[in-house]
């Protein structure tokens, strides 16, 4: 109780430096927690985002590029494959489902993907979850200029059922390359929290035969999304396409290939973590500096406490406790910083990829980091506390005269 009163009054007396120091700790704690949570959550979420498929078949290319293009609708298509290739893998006994997609158009930057209705009727994008439509909509009909729109695109463009649009050529928006065809929105997908939310889905042949497209592409597809009957089939097809053949690439398994992306950008995580560690170190230093700098002003108060009967260990404990309380304030503020950063970061990731991170998901770093902050602050407080411990009472209390 005594120590808490001493600490409380000291923090009040040095309110400005307390707030500044706690803020720098909050920034460090918030950054550390965000880096860790985003890193682990994005890795987990991205590797689990398979849109319900086990593999992707596409033109000869890097597997990662193929997966990013076909599953995440990012990056450019590495090229096309012939309709016959699609037919061949579709008929393969190891393949349960094969869904062709064609890319190459956009509407104001939102990617248009041509596919077949089976994507919506047969495929579970998450276990037990099929694509569903918002009220008043229906899936497009083959051969018609109709579109089903991902929830995020519809929200961003303000589209409702009945809206019409002209696609633009290419995956990057260029006003000069508007196609003649007019499409009508016939359905809007319920949110899936997956890259599908960022896509305008149209019938496959519509993209293939769009005016201005290469007529040769009318019998080609950009990729084939595949569900296998068993995991061993994946290795068999991997052997068949990747090792024995040299024309196509079979990207399997999708999750592991996305994992490679994180391995490649692992250095970025490490840099972020290093920056966060440095910020934490600087913040801990600021606790030390702030309390140490105030020691001259507090020297007399501490000597008075000693003269009143406080033990050396009591004043030592008071200074360490004060540092720990600043650390605790910083850790609490860290949660505010963390929440703010998570909102921003998860929004950016959602806008860029369609993948939604859980903002309130629990992670061990959420208790380890605040605890470490308090510990680090208390450790920093030991330097000024040692100074307080050694204060010569008689000398300090001697009248100035």
């Amino acid at each position: 109780m005594t120590i808490l009163l001493i600490v409380y009054r000291s923090l009040r007396q040095h309110a400005l430096s307390t707030v500044v120091t706690a803020c720098s700790l909050a920034l460090a704690a918030g950054l550390l927690m965000t880096v860790w949570v985003v890193k682990t959550q994005s890795q987990r979420t991205f590797t689990q985002t398979t849109a319900g498929f086990d593999a992707v078949l596409g033109a000869r290319s890097a597997k990662l590029q193929l997966v990013l293009n076909a599953i995440f609708h990012l990056e450019a298509s590495p090229g096309n494959l012939a309709w016959a290739d699609y037919e061949q893998i579709k008929q393969h006994p190891a393949v349960k489902t094969a869904i062709p997609i064609a890319v190459g158009d956009n509407f104001r930057g939102w990617r248009i993907v041509g596919t077949v209705p089976e994507l919506f009727s047969d495929v579970e994008y998450n276990p037990g979850r099929k694509y569903t439509l918002a009220a008043g909509g229906r899936f497009f009909e083959t051969g018609k200029h109709e579109a089903v729109v991902g929830s995020f695109v519809a929200q961003q463009l303000g589209w409702k059922v009945g809206a019409t649009f002209h696609p633009f050529h290419g995956i990057a928006f260029d006003e000069q390359h508007e196609h003649e065809e007019q499409y009508e929105v016939v359905g809007i997908l319920e949110p899936t929290n997956s890259p599908a939310d960022r896509v305008i889905w149209t019938p496959l042949e519509g993209v293939q035969t769009m005016t201005g497209h290469n007529p040769a592409a009318a019998t080609e597809v950009s990729a084939v999304l595949i569900q296998l009957r068993s995991p061993t089939a994946g290795f068999m097809l991997d052997m068949m396409y990747n090792k024995q053949g040299n024309r196509l690439t079979f990207a399997y398994p999708v999750g592991a290939i996305v994992g490679e992306l994180f391995a490649k950008i692992g250095w970025f995580d490490r840099v972020l973590a290093l920056v966060a560690y440095l910020v934490a170190l600087v913040a801990a230093g600021s606790v030390l500096a702030s309390i140490y700098a105030s020691m001259s002003a507090r020297r007399r108060d501490l000597a008075i406490l000693r003269a009143l009967g406080a033990h050396r260990r009591t004043v030592f404990g008071a200074v360490v406790t004060e540092a720990a309380v600043i650390g605790a304030l910083g850790a609490a503020g860290g949660f505010v910083v963390y929440c703010g950063l998570m909102v921003v970061v998860s929004n950016v990731i959602r806008v860029q990829t369609g993948v939604v991170l859980e903002r309130v998901a629990w992670h061990d770093v959420l208790w380890i980091c605040p605890l470490a902050m308090v510990g680090l602050a208390a450790l920093s407080g030991m330097v000024p506390a040692a100074k307080a411990y050694r204060i010569p009472v008689a000398e300090t209390l001697a009248p100035a005269s």
Binding site: G309, R312, A394
Partner: protein, 227 residues
């Protein structure tokens, strides 16, 4: 009369900047009875404050013994000296030494907390007795000098000490306040049954005591220095 304070062969020296050891306090024998009130006259720099610091256990003596209510302060470890000081001794400083960041009530409570324990009602009662009932939640800077000194007195007496040490308690007060303040200290000490040892060079303050001794007469170190 049982000696509340009994000192034998007490010495204290300091190393001067030129490397020589200067003996500041050399008191062969000194005693103070329970409830007794004694004033020591001494000039500035005569070692009076050091003498009080030694009695209070704020400084560790080079040699000798200081018995406070029968317990030898010199032979105790520092934590035990701190405890004894908090429980048995009230100290009134010349500059009051109030904790500026704490309220009047907190100053008194903190003083009590290192001894038998903070007793809010006792602290309030002492402050009210000293006319500070309306100032409990004021900070020292919001008080007059006289009021600040009364807070220092309240803090020294709240624990019902057996011995009160007062170091130039009127040094920062005008004459009227000094007279009133000293009367209050003496009266309050009588009320709690504490012995009072006051050191001062202020003749007006000393004049209020029936027992006054020259510090030079008990401090052999000063006799040699001729001060």
């Amino acid at each position: 009369m049982l000696a509340m304070l009994a000192i034998h062969g007490l010495t204290q020296s300091f190393l001067s900047p030129d490397g020589r050891r200067n003996t500041v306090v050399d008191v062969p024998a000194f005693s103070l009875g329970a409830g007794e009130q004694l004033a020591l006259r001494g000039e500035s720099g005569s070692g009076k404050t050091t003498f009080l610091h030694l009695i209070a256990g704020i400084l560790a003596a080079d040699s000798g013994s200081i018995h406070v209510e029968g317990i030898d302060m010199v032979s105790l470890s520092e934590p035990k000296r701190d405890r004894l000081r908090a429980e048995k001794i009230g100290y009134i400083f010349q500059t009051f030494n109030l904790l500026q960041g704490h309220t009047v009530l907190e100053n008194v409570l903190l003083g009590m907390s290192f001894g038998p324990g903070a007793d809010r009602s006792r602290a309030r009662a002492v402050l009210e007795r000293l006319g500070l009932g309306e100032r409990l939640y004021h900070f020292p800077r919001q008080l007059s000098t006289g009021q600040q000194q009364r807070v220092a007195v309240a803090r020294a007496l709240a624990n019902r000490p057996k011995l009160v040490l007062a170091d130039e308690p009127t040094g920062n007060l005008d004459r009227r306040n000094a007279t009133e303040s000293l009367a209050l200290i003496r009266e309050t000490c009588r009320e709690v049954g504490a012995a009072l040892l006051l050191v001062s060079h202020d003749e007006n303050a000393l004049a209020q005591f029936s027992q006054v001794k020259n510090f030079a007469d008990i401090n052999a170190a000063q006799q040699g220095a001729g001060t």
